[in-house]
C-alpha cells in the first residue's frame, strides 16, 4: 500500500497545551470564561482520589461499622487506634482526600444548580469556608490528639 502523507503536523501533538497562537482564526459564538487547566486537574483529581478512597474509606467503614459496631466505639477505642502513627496518617490522608473530593463534587453541584450569580457566589464562599475550617479542625483533631493530655484535663 502507498504511504500517505497527511497534514498531521507537530502542532497537533502539542494539542492539550493550546499554546499555538493563530490570529487567522476568527472568534465566533459566545464568549466563555477561561479557567486554564483547573477543570482538567479537578476532573483528574476526582479519579485519582476516588481510587485511593476505595482503599481508605472502605477499609475505614468496614473497620468502624462492620467489624466493630458503633456500640463498641468510645473514647478508649479511638485513643487506642490513634496511638499508632500508621492509623493516624491513614485517617488524616482519608480526611483530606475525602474532604477535597467531596467538596469538589459539591462545587460542581453548586455550579449546576445555583444559577443566580449572587447566590452562586454566596454558595461558593460558604463552600470554601467549610473546606478550610473543616480541613483545619479535622487536622487538629488527628494531629494534635494526645490521649494522656486529654484524659488529664
Amino acid at each position: 500500500m502507498v504511504q500517505i502523507r497527511t497534514d498531521r503536523g507537530s502542532d497537533r501533538a502539542s494539542a492539550a497545551t493550546g499554546a499555538q497562537r493563530r490570529p487567522a482564526v476568527p472568534r465566533v459564538g459566545r464568549e466563555r470564561p477561561n479557567s486554564g487547566n483547573f477543570e482538567l486537574y479537578s476532573w483528574y483529581f476526582f479519579r485519582i482520589s476516588g481510587l485511593l478512597l476505595i482503599l481508605l474509606a472502605i477499609t475505614h467503614v468496614v473497620i468502624m461499622h462492620v467489624v466493630n459496631t458503633v456500640d463498641e466505639i468510645d473514647f478508649d477505642f479511638v485513643a487506642d487506634r490513634w496511638s499508632s502513627p500508621f492509623w493516624r496518617s491513614f485517617d488524616w490522608l482519608m480526611l483530606v482526600l475525602a474532604l477535597l473530593h467531596g467538596l469538589n463534587g459539591a462545587r460542581i453541584a453548586i455550579d449546576d444548580y445555583v444559577r443566580p450569580r449572587g447566590w452562586r457566589i454566596f454558595a461558593y464562599s460558604v463552600l470554601w469556608s467549610v473546606a478550610i475550617i473543616f480541613l483545619i479542625i479535622g487536622s487538629i483533631a488527628i494531629v494534635t490528639f494526645n490521649p494522656a493530655a486529654a484524659v488529664g484535663r
Partner: protein
Amino acid sequence: MYHRFDAVIVGAGGAGLMAAAQLAGKVNVAVISKLYPTRSHTGAAQGGIGAALGNLEEDHWIWHMFDTVKGGDYLVDQDAAEVLAREAIDAVYELEHMGLPFNRTPDGRIDQRRFGGHTRNFGEGPVRRACYAADRTGHMILQTLYQQGIKHQVQYFNEMMMLDLLLTDDGVCTGVVALDILTGEIHVFHAKAVLLATGGFGRIFKVTSNALSLTGDGCAIAFRRGLPLEDMEFFQFHPTGIYKMGILLSEACRGEGGILRNGKGERFMEKYAPTLLDLAPRDMVSRSIYLEIRQGLGIDGKDYVHLDLTHLPAEVIENKLPDITDFVRTYMGLDPVTDLIPIQPTAHYAMGGIPTDVDGRVTIDENNTVLPGLYAAGECACVSVHGANRLGTNSLVDLIVFGRRAGRHMLQFIAENDLHPLPKEPDFRARAEVSALLDGDGTENAAAIRADLQEAMFTHAGVFRTAEGLLQLKDQLAELRHRYSRVGLRDKSRNFNMDLVETIETGYLLDVAEAVAAGALAREESRGGHFREDFPERDDANWLKHTLVYRTSGGLEMRYKPVVVTRFEPKERKY
C-alpha cells in the same frame, strides 16, 4: 424593517451557500432562508456528486458532458453542459479544500462510485464518477458550506420567508420582501443583486422525496412578477422511493450493485436497457417499473416492485449505505441485508425552473435578455443542464458549479453598478397578501386544497400523461384556485404562524402546478421525464426546443426557445 446589502441570497441550500461563499468577506451579503440553513433539503441528497476526476479509472469531462446531454434526451443546452462537466472537477476540489470529508481510495484520493447514466467513452459501460461521502454526500456539502459561512461571518436571516421580489418598472431587480416567521414582521431587503436559490417543488405531487418545505416559492414569486418559467413539464420521478412514503433510497443502492425485481423475481431491466440495466437513467427505470406493474408483474399484483440488495456483502450495505439501511430499518422494519425492499417511483426533481444563462443571470425571453440584478441557481433555476431528465449526481454539481458562477458574477456586478432606488411602497403587495389572510374570513382549508392538488397532479401529470388527463387536470386546478381565493386561516397569531406560512406556500404550489400542467399539455411528444401516451415518440423536428410559460392577465402563455447544440447531434437514446 429596512435592510440594505450589496447582495441578498434567498435560500440556504447548496446553491445559495456556495454563492455566499464566493461573496463572503468581499461584499456585504445577507442569506435569508425560511429554514435554518442546515435544514435545507440539500442535506437529504445521498448518493454523490459527479466529476470526471478519474481517480479510479480513466474518465474525461467530455464523457461527462456527453452523458449529461444524452441523459437529458438532447434537450440540454450544450454550452451549459460543457461548463458543468468542465468546472465540476475544480468545484469538487474546492469543496474538498473547504473540508468536505469525502470517502477515500486506498491511496488517499477521493473515492468514486458508479451512478445511473454515467458512462465511459460515450456510452460503452458504467464509469466510476460519483464522488461521495458514504450515503450522505448532500448532508456533508450542506454542513461544509454552512461551516464556511460561519468562518467568514456571513449574515444569516433564519426563518425569514421571501414573499415578493422587487422589480422596478424599467426592469431592474432591487431587492426582496420577506416575512420574519418568528415575529410576523415584514422586512424589506434593498440590494444591488439578488440570488434566488429556493430549491424545488416536489410537494406538488402526492408521493415525493422532497421536504414539506419544498413548495417552489422562488419559482412562483418570479412567475407572479411576470418572469417566465422554463421546461416546467419535465419532472423527474426517481425509481426507488420507499413504498407509500416516497422517502428516497439513493441510486447509490444500484450503483453498489442493487437489482430491481418484479413480482416473479425477474431482473426486468434486462428487457428495457440491456447495457446499463438497473443503472439506466431514472426516467427509463421509473417507466419500466410502471410498465411491469401495468402488466400485473408488481409484487402480488400490487403497485410496487422490489429493490434487492441481499446479494451484496453485509459490510458494503452497512458501510457504504448506512443511512439507507437505517431508513429501511426505521420506516419499514426490514433489514436490507436479508430482506427485499418494496419500492415505488417517487416525485423527485424539477428539471425546469427560472431560466438563467451560464452565469446564473435570470433571462426573461427567448432571446435570453438578462434582467439586471437578478440571479437564480440550484433546483429552482433552469440553466438547462438537465434538459428533459437529470442524471443522478448532476444536481449537486449544478448547485456547486452554477452557485459558484452566480456568486462570482454577482461580485463583478456589484462592483460595476450602483444601488438602484426601491420602487414606491416596496412592501405593499406582501403586506396586502399577509393581511388579507390574517384579517380575512375565508373558510376553505389550505391543507385540503393542497392534498387535492397533490392527488390530481400525481394522477394526471405523473410518469404517464395524456391530453385528456391534462385537460381534466386543468379544470381541477382552476377549481382549486377558486377554492384558494376563499381560503381562511385558523391561526391568526403574529408569532410563528405556521398556518400562515403553509397557506402562502399552498398558493405557490398552485402557481407552479399550473405551469407544469400547461407545459405538459403543450409539449406533444415524449422526451425524458415527460411521457405522453398519446405522443409516445420523441419529435425533434417540432419539439427540440424549450418551453417558456408566462403568467399574463389573459392566462398562461407559452413561448419557445431553441436548444443550444454544440458538440453532440441529437440521436436516439438507447442504453
